[in-house]
């Protein structure tokens, strides 16, 4: 069973990696977007899924990653790799400096504080001359979609392997302990502040790398799109749809939701976003623990699974 699962994952990976050789340009471009979203969902999974802190501020990491690459390449004429490293450095600094006070907040208050941080960042970056203020930055173009595709895929593999390692490490167990019972974890000797901050920073590393790749790919960034809050909500929904706190859930959620929404926007353009909202509402009501839990339990209970979810959570 376990070997079968590993074989399936490897086979899927080989097919995904081969897409640039047989896929059309449109498919490759869709792939880059979908893979980067999956990286974001996986990055969010570390803080939101495993640690249980509903971060609405991960789009800040994405934006800092975009601006790291943007500033390094457009203003300082440095290579892409240096830009990525600069973006990661910005994201980690942000995670440590603001993470420590903000991670003291629980529940709704944490969610709203991170939401507000994202708003503050848009406003601040719009006033920074080095970042091109609200006009944005134009990066040197590089027309090589297969390269961006493989980079995104590689990053997703790296993020997923990190999460896989998490589930088997002392650090990962510490995060789950924080999620299940923070006071208890503290009493058991887990340094919760350190663990939470590290999870926040790790989550930030992946989100900022995704932002950096995206910035170089689209060659243009501005504050509104780099720090877009709806992107943050998208990554949450994708992770939750697939199954937060699981290794493959966020990836499956991101790829399947991207595919559905891409299909719909090509069929009925204006209704794609509307559909997205409806899926979110329906998913929260009918399968609040995600696709992974549904697939596991649906075999036993069938359609009653949905009714049961409603019964346990309604007033």
């Amino acid at each position: 069973m376990k070997t079968l699962r590993i074989a399936l994952v490897v086979a899927a990976l080989v097919v995904l990696a081969a897409v640039p050789w047989f896929g059309s340009d449109v498919l490759i471009q869709f792939g880059i977007n979908a893979l980067l979203l999956a990286v974001l969902a996986q990055g969010w999974n570390i803080i939101g899924g495993y640690t249980g802190y509903a971060s609405f501020g991960n789009s800040v990491f994405y934006g800092l990653g975009s601006y790291g690459v943007g500033i390094a390449m457009a203003q300082w004429h440095l290579p892409f790799g240096v830009g990525l490293a600069f973006g990661v450095a910005l994201a980690v600094t942000f995670a440590v400096l603001l993470g420590i006070p903000v991670l003291r907040l629980r529940g709704h208050y944490f969610a709203i504080a991170t939401l507000a941080l994202a708003q503050v960042m848009i406003a601040i970056v719009s006033n920074v001359t080095l970042a091109g203020q609200n006009i944005g930055l134009v990066l040197p173009p590089l027309n090589n979609d297969p390269l961006f595709y493989e980079l995104s895929l590689g990053l997703l593999v790296l993020a997923t392997l990190t999460v896989f390692w998490l589930t088997r490490s002392r650090f990962g167990f510490g995060l789950i302990a924080v999620r299940e019972n923070e006071e208890g974890a503290e009493v058991m000797g887990v340094n919760t502040t350190l663990y939470k901050t590290m999870a926040f920073a790790l989550s930030g590393v992946f989100c900022s790398l995704a932002g950096g790749i995206h910035a170089y790919w689209v060659t243009f960034i501005d504050p509104e799109s780099a720090f877009d809050i709806s992107l943050n909500v998208k990554m949450i929904i994708m992770a939750v749809f697939g199954g937060p706190g699981t290794i493959l859930g966020p990836v499956v959620g991101a790829l399947s939701l991207s595919a559905i929404s891409e299909f719909l926007s090509s069929e009925i353009t204006s209704l794609a976003s509307l559909f997205f909202g409806i899926v979110v509402v329906a998913a929260v009501v009918l399968m609040p623990r995600g696709l992974a839990d549904m697939l596991r339990r649906f075999r036993k209970t069938g359609w009653r699974y949905f009714a049961e979810n409603i019964r346990t959570h309604r007033l």
Partner: protein, 287 residues
């Protein structure tokens, strides 16, 4: 000096409207423990209801507010009864997601129904002002401020001194005990959410008379309402007034002395600071 006085007055007038916007959010959050990310979308919807009443039925935007409130109450009641009641006992995170989904649905339905154009509710007296010596009081803003403060105070009286208000507060404090005393929570939750949405819708109607509206204004207004409820605290409508006035004045002063683009930095920066220093609000009870 005159400029400063004028800015303070503008900030105060804006702040009254802000307070009214945040009131419904604070009520729903404080009583039902639902953090409604779709709050701004309901404000937007209320603005369109008022706009349509004015444009097609020629009802004065201020006199039409009771109708807007009634329509929005009905919408809010149905949303809570048919949808949100289904997830009240789910983890708090799910309520954030579902109300966000709702925000997306409302925004795009509004875009389909009303188009993405900027609109204003423009009664004949929209440009009139009262001039008091060196300061100018725009009439529409003054009226909006008056209605907002009256409704906010009215809300306070309602919660403290009526049977329904007491039932709502009782439910907030202890759901099980409230049920034992014959309160039907499903209905009461829907009524409370309905009142919250009616307040949001009324605030939207007022907002439409002083500012431009389009289907996308919701998200920013939600964020502002959060800032106000958190600065003011959730358990007291008067705190929300203070929070709204504080934010309105802060934004106007920041725009004057530092630059208009920093107004949002100031309001959200204060929000983050308040959260870190005193998460239950400046006027809220200590945790």
């Amino acid at each position: 000096m005159d400029l400063l006085v004028q800015v303070l007055i503008n900030g105060t007038l804006l702040g009254g409207l802000y307070a009214m916007m945040a009131l419904g959010l604070a009520l729903v959050w404080g009583v039902l423990n639902i953090v409604n990310l779709a709050h701004g979308a309901f404000i937007m919807l209320g603005a369109y209801v008022s706009l349509y009443l004015f444009t097609y039925l020629h009802i004065d935007p201020f006199l039409g507010l009771p109708i807007t409130a009634a329509v929005m109450f009905a919408i809010g009641y149905c949303v809570q009864r048919g949808l949100l009641n289904l997830i009240v006992r789910a983890p708090m995170f799910n309520t954030l997601l579902i109300t966000f989904g709702l925000e997306v649905v409302l925004t795009y339905l509004a875009q389909l129904a009303f188009s993405a154009d900027f609109r204003t509710i423009n009664p004949s007296y929209a440009g009139d002002s009262i001039v008091l010596g060196p300061v100018v009081l725009p009439l529409a803003r003054l009226l909006a401020f008056g209605v907002a403060i009256a409704l906010t105070v009215g809300m306070w009286v309602f919660l403290l001194h009526t049977t329904l208000g007491r039932a709502i507060r009782a439910t907030a404090q202890n759901l099980v005990a409230a049920r034992l005393y014959g309160v039907e929570p499903r209905h009461l939750y829907a009524v409370t959410f309905g009142i919250g949405i009616a307040l949001a819708g009324t605030a939207g109607g007022l907002y439409g008379t002083v500012s431009q509206i389009n289907p996308y204004i919701g998200a920013a207004l939600t964020a502002k309402s959060f800032a106000i409820s958190i600065i003011g605290g959730l358990d007291n409508p008067l705190g929300v007034i203070v929070g709204g006035l504080f934010l309105g004045i802060l934004e106007s002063l920041t725009a004057l002395y530092i630059g208009p683009t920093y107004a949002d930095v100031a309001s959200f920066g204060v929000l983050v600071l308040v959260l870190i220093v005193r998460p239950t609000g400046l006027l809220g009870k200590a945790a």
